[in-house]
């Protein structure tokens, strides 16, 4: 149980830290990549919490497709936040 708690805390930090970075940074491309990283950590967290169904969806949509959609949207608009 101690190991489980430790892994859950580490993964929670790996979800929270990129999320804060994504809010704070002015570079939207870096923010999108940070969100993708947070989604990947969240997918592993779901797997540790015994929800493999959600983990597969989160890994494919969060880390893959959402990132691509963000990058395409930034390409059509502007990269730097004013």
């Amino acid at each position: 149980m101690m190991l489980f708690t430790f892994i859950a805390w580490v993964l929670a930090v790996l979800v929270i830290a990129p999320a804060i970075y994504a809010v704070e940074t002015k570079d939207l491309l870096s923010a999108a990549i940070a969100v993708g990283f947070a989604d990947l950590a969240a997918a592993i967290l779901f797997l540790v919490l015994q929800a493999p169904d959600v983990a597969i969806t989160q890994a494919a949509i969060g880390a893959g497709i959402t990132l691509a959609i963000f990058v395409y949207a930034i390409r059509r608009t502007e990269r730097w936040e004013k």
Binding site: T5, D53, I69, R75
Partner: protein
Amino acid sequence: MKKALAAVISIAIFIVLSYFFLTGSAPIDYLKGGNYTDPITGEQYNHSVPQQYVEDTKNDTGASNVVTAIVVEYRGFDTLGEVTVLFTAATGLALLLDELKRRTLPVVDPNFILKSAVKVVLPFIILVGAYIFIHGHLTPGGGFPGGAVIAAGFLLMILVHTTRGLPERKLSITESLAGISYVLIGLLGLVFANEFLQNYLPLGNFTMLFSAGIIPLIYIAIGFKVGSELGGIMHNLKGVHEE
């Protein structure tokens, strides 16, 4: 100053909530209380709904994946609503981007490593996606995850073929056929079993591929629909490249 305060407050809320979540002491305790045995810790609770699903799923639906049984069988109408939401989002995006799509963007030639790697990896990604949604009633997964994995394969295709893109027409035909077949399967339930989306096929042998009645059919339809829909969204966002 304000930002630092907000960060401190949100981190404090996170620590408090995660403490309750990890120790399982305070706010979620009232949900539990006699005949439910937690499969991990072995504790007994008086929380009958999960126990009910775990016990009845085998006889009611014949699916060995309880999550799938709840999503497609017990709450099938909600899933139809979810598919409709995704369809509406894709249609709205296509309408919004119709004009923007014709604007030309500079073409960047993909490098050699990406081109050769995609040739090797793409069939396997499509295969894994198909496996996930065909075996949705047996193993973790289902129509939405499988369709998303296939759409990730489409993304690789878009990245490699910078000028051609995806066959948009074929994608929309696939999507429409899959949506129509989902509704038709539900309507046949209305004919044979007196309820919309009710199971009317034999349940088959438990844990075999041909089991669980209409669940595999519905998940195959959803897998095709989600895959082609997400692929179409990315194709629309990418736009047309002209030399």
